[in-house]
Symmetry: C2
Subunit: 243 residues, 2 copies
DNA sequence: CAGTGGTCTAGACCACTTT
DNA sequence: AAGTGGTCTAGACCACTGA
């Protein structure tokens, strides 16, 4: 993993930032970095580009490259919870025990909405999988997922009780790294209150997502209703290069 | 705007995708595009890279470049509401009238939290600005913002009643394009209920953000409490190149 | 005017997928 | 083996910032 030039430069610079090895919140200019790392300026640019994308540094044409002060002061924010939450199997659990209770598992015809999102035909079927997720034995999320059977005809309740994504990656060599997420808020329904142990006045966060395989095949539609105390999505937003 | 090579290639390809000019959801290979557009392959790569970043296409080493089927089917999703929500003055209002009511406007010493986030000293002061935002005369968000006076000593209630970011960009030549956002959920408080016309059982979405100037200076800390019916944050997530 | 990041090129070679 | 995207280089030139 990562014997790539720009990768290792990136790691090294990141480490140096954390070790406070740069003066005045400022990095050396790209040409100096290029000679000191003995790599091309393009590779330096690429490394810095990724760091900038992640909000760790800011590049300012004509002036130089600067460290985001918040990265040093408040580093936990930069752990990309955002990108991980939503990817079903990589929620952040420090030392906490994670559990899954299977609520429902069946094969049903794909609704028209699902046909749209999963790129299916009229006669296609999907797994419908409902799971209750727990941390330290506390329920925090109801997850309803739909997966086309034609993508993974070999799913089973046993697999579904642990990590579908891990199964896919390990057994099938398919990775899920892309998703389209939509986040909203709603009062809790009776079922939410029951399963998540919520009071009637307590709300849920809703995360709806479509997950894709590496080649762009839509793989899963997921609807997650999250206990409000556990609901937190953090992300760095860069409005530059859009449209 | 955008006489850049990779920009115009990007726009053209995007338009061709929408016009369905590519067969079988697949783009021509990079070398062909390079010759047909008469630009270097690097520029093609860059254009495609941005489109991939936005989730419009998928690139698969060894196989080719493919159009995200959801981009064609469900294009409204790809309008990057995500990146815009949170940037205070670019919420999505189709044809809707936008309004602002100034609730509070004062200068106060920066709390220690604010000193942290805005990179301030013990004796620094900030504007504290509370605004109620409306669409079609319906209140939908309570926004509390903190801005260091030393960054914009010339703020005024009149400016604050409209767009601070526009003022900054037009009058000061400073752009705000980057932010760190954190999204959560909470039951509504009495004040939320009063200002946003919520029932006690109805919740709010909370968006907290730190906004940065182009050079990386933290510029504003903002806390937004959003009426749950108006709360929607959508974004494309790419887990590839992380860490 | 010197310094800095941004864009663009042309080409070599590598890694993976498909036939 | 052929085709495709990924990495990397070396260098030219541009655009902006700041002394």
């Amino acid at each position: 993993m990562a014997d790539l030039v720009y990768r290792s430069v990136m790691r090294d610079i990141k480490q140096k930032i954390l070790a406070n090895e740069y003066q005045g919140m400022r990095l050396p200019d790209e040409r100096s970095l290029s000679t000191s790392y003995q790599v091309s300026r393009s590779s330096i640019k690429r490394a810095l580009g990724v760091l900038a994308q992640q909000g760790i540094i800011f590049k300012k044409r004509g002036s130089g490259t600067f460290i985001n002060p918040l990265y040093l002061k408040n580093r936990s924010l930069f752990r990309y919870e955002g990108s991980n939450v939503g990817v079903t199997d990589s929620f952040k659990f420090g030392n906490h025990k994670q559990g899954i209770r299977l609520i429902d598992y069946q094969v049903v015809p794909a609704s028209t909405d699902l046909q749209q999102d999963l790129f299916l035909d009229d006669n296609d079927f999907v797994y419908k999988i409902r799971r209750l997720r727990l941390v330290d034995d506390q329920p925090f999320m109801i997850e309803t997922g739909y997966i086309p059977i034609k993508i993974t005809p070999t799913l089973s309740p046993a697999i579904v009780k642990s990590s579908i994504f891990n199964y896919l990656e390990n057994a099938k060599g398919k990775r899920v790294t892309k998703s389209f997420m939509s986040i909203s808020v709603a009062p809790s329904k009776i079922e939410d209150q029951r399963l998540l142990k919520l009071k009637p006045t307590e709300p849920v966060g809703i995360m709806e997502g479509v997950f894709f395989l590496d080649d762009g095949t839509p793989f899963e539609v997921s609807n997650m209703r999250v206990h409000y105390k556990y609901m937190k999505y953090s992300t760095f937003v860069n409005l530059d290069q859009e449209s």
